[in-house]
């Protein structure tokens, strides 16, 4: 396994009024390995999208990445880059796909224009040659009749086709890392599966590392190699996909599983997590999940670090210290 991206202690802040700053992303660390998929899972507002934008220094102002954060791409320190050097990373080393394929494509340019400009931004070649590559890319992402689609404008395509075009754009400069920020959220369920299929195939054929950002645990199983669950700007549980599904340990992760209706087993009431994710300015001291946690106890008032639950399985909860206690529980049962 070769590590292609390392994120260490990533902190992103926004002005919070009264000259204070709030931290929607607060000390996130993870690694991407070549040919593997890491899923970053969490509810909206947990900081997962901001995290992905930070990888290319695309955090919208007035947000900023705090000093002390490290994003290492091979031997390149991404956060030290600016101007032309930064531009050369974008698209070329890391490609990105966004949530809503309608608004993420420029409405006034054809598919061809939008793919070709991505190629020409990084490679010196004739436009005709770039067009040929664009055609190949459309075939690669499974667009039928690609010759015609090249001339189409985004509004002439269906949602699934648009997202395929987005993927082709992200792949235009052959990046080694693909970041997919909720790539299927805006799509029909049947189309979702197709898009995920395409991503999987490309990862294998191109040996890319994929960062899959999603709120949907359902699409993680069988697709991601590892999962990091985020809550309130922090990663609160991280392990291989198999371990997470076998043994979800953090009370928040257990809550997420309990919120998903199950097809097998006896029919039960869903057991959603009470309350909702607080805004960054209102994050409590100590464990940030404490106010919503059914298992909170006195030690929860101290901020927990990532603690080992079992080998290669970390969670940000003091319960990890009480080996096994409460962690072998069948998800969904009342505690």
């Amino acid at each position: 396994m070769s590590r292609v991206l390392e994120v260490e202690n990533l902190k992103i802040s926004f002005p919070g009024g009264d000259h204070t700053r709030v931290y929607p992303v607060d000390g996130v660390s993870f690694q991407l390995e070549r040919g593997q998929t890491l899923a970053l899972v969490g509810e909206s507002g947990c900081g997962k999208s901001l995290t992905s934008l930070a990888l290319l220094q695309l955090v919208p102002p007035p947000g900023r990445i705090e000093t002390g954060s490290v994003i290492r791409l091979g031997d390149t320190d991404v956060l030290a880059l600016q101007g032309e050097a930064l531009r050369r990373i974008r698209g070329r080393r890391i490609g990105m796909i966004f949530q809503d394929p309608m608004t993420s494509l420029n409405p006034v340019f054809t598919v061809e224009d939008q793919i070709v400009e991505g190629i020409l931004a990084h490679f010196k070649m004739a436009r005709a040659k770039a067009r040929e590559r664009a055609l190949q890319l459309l075939q690669e992402v499974g667009i039928p009749d690609p010759e015609q689609r090249l001339k189409a404008y985004p509004h002439q395509l269906s949602g699934g086709m648009r997202q395929r075009v987005m993927i082709a754009i992200a792949l235009a400069a052959e990046p080694e890392i693909l970041v997919a920020d909720e790539p299927t959220t805006a799509l029909d369920v049947t189309v979702q599966a197709q898009i995920l299929e395409v991503l999987d195939r490309l990862r294998t054929s191109r040996g890319m590392a994929v960062l899959l950002i999603t709120h949907d645990l359902g699409i993680v199983a069988g697709r991601a190699d590892r999962v990091a669950v985020m809550y309130a700007g922090q990663i609160i549980e991280e392990t291989s996909t198999g371990r997470l599904f076998a043994n979800p340990s953090h009370p928040y992760t257990q809550g997420l599983f309990a919120s998903v209706p199950r097809i097998t087993g006896p029919l039960k009431r869903l057991n959603p997590i009470r309350g909702s994710v607080p805004a960054p300015a209102a994050w409590p001291s100590g464990c940030r999940f404490r106010p919503r946690c059914p298992k909170a106890f006195d030690k929860s008032e101290l901020e927990p670090p990532l603690l080992p639950v079992e080998p290669d399985h970390l969670m940000r909860c003091w319960l990890a210290e009480q080996q096994g206690a409460g962690t072998r529980q069948e998800p969904g049962t009342k505690s």
Binding site: P62, I89, G95, T103, L105, V108, H155
Partner: protein
């Protein structure tokens, strides 16, 4: 866009424009006649006319005919390219308009050009530098410019630059003392020097407005997801700003351009008087006071034609620039 679909649409849209012009023509004609006063009241000023003289004059200008008859003959003349004879000047209206038109087109054209180059550029700059010092200064400047009455600014500029500093001529369009043998280049430079102050005066307000529009439109586009896509592709900032953002922030400004276009023939009565610019604005103002129906009608029709044309051109521009516009 299919060729036949396009030509069909152009034809329909052209007919609509023609209909709009016809309606404007009708309303203008009857509105003018409904206004109190009469061309002869002005002619008779200072000297009483005998009833016989009045009758002769009325007959000469067709004012003795019923209004509907007058309308029919006016439209007939219009179709032959004849707008009648000015009561005030005793000369064909078309000749009078043609004489004054170049000065107004020159002034209006310069204003449009300045407006939609400087104004656009500043607005885009502001949006890209949102919230920074330059943006705040330009915002203040544009609000001051927008609030400034142009005739007042014109007077100040004429007094300061033209009279106190003697940098530029403060009145007219040509130096009457320029020798007759002056070359074309010398004459052009002379006209340009005369043009600066009135063009600047009119531009200040319009540039201020365009800046505000362009800034708002750009800010709206810059926060759309496809801008992030463009950046994530590794495109240079200038390409993101101008190709991806500005191309989409152009539409409100096209509408604004359409609204400004008639300035080519309307000029500005105030600014033309301040700088003694020999344009249509002052001619039209005189025609109003004199109830010079034919001249007034001619000048108004010119404006109406350009307003209608501007609407038409705006639609065509949208259809050409926005692939989502359905031609229906």
């Amino acid at each position: 866009m299919v060729g036949r679909e396009l030509s069909g649409w152009l034809l329909r849209r052209g007919l609509q424009a023609a209909a709009a012009f016809a309606i404007a023509l009708t309303i203008l004609f009857f509105l003018m006649r409904a206004a109190p006063g009469d061309p002869l009241s002005r002619i008779s000023e200072g000297r009483p006319l005998s009833p016989a003289e009045v009758a002769t004059l009325r007959a000469r200008y067709g004012l003795d005919q019923p209004v509907t008859q007058q309308f029919v003959s006016f439209v007939g003349g219009l179709l032959r390219g004849d707008l009648g004879v000015s009561i005030e000047y005793g000369r064909p209206v078309t000749a009078l308009l043609a004489e004054r038109l170049p000065a107004t087109v020159l002034l209006g054209g310069s204003v449009l050009l300045l407006n939609f180059t400087v104004g656009l550029w500043l607005g885009v700059r502001q949006a890209v530098r949102r919230g920074r010092r330059e943006d705040r200064w330009l915002t203040t400047a544009s609000l001051i410019g927008y609030a400034m009455p142009s005739f007042w600014l014109g007077l100040v500029l004429a007094w300061l630059v033209g009279i106190q500093l003697r940098l530029l001529p403060a009145a007219g369009m040509q130096d009457p003392l320029l020798s007759l043998e002056a070359s074309f280049v010398e004459r052009s430079i002379d006209v340009l020097r005369h043009l600066v102050l009135p063009a600047l005066t009119l531009s200040v307000v319009s540039i201020a407005a365009t800046m505000r529009y362009q800034r708002t439109a750009m800010l709206e586009v810059l926060q759309l997801p496809f801008i992030t896509t463009a950046r994530a592709k590794g495109l240079p900032d200038t390409v993101v700003t101008w190709r991806h953002a500005w191309r989409n922030a152009l539409f409100p400004v096209i509408t604004l351009f359409g609204l400004w276009l008639p300035i080519l023939v309307t000029g500005s009565v105030f600014v033309e008087s301040v700088f003694a610019w020999p344009g249509l604005g002052s001619l039209a103002a005189a025609a109003v006071w004199g109830r010079d129906y034919p001249l007034l009608m001619g000048a108004s029709l010119l404006v109406a034609a350009l307003v209608v044309a501007a609407g038409f051109l705006t639609d065509v521009a949208y259809a050409m620039l926005d692939p989502r516009v359905r031609l229906a």
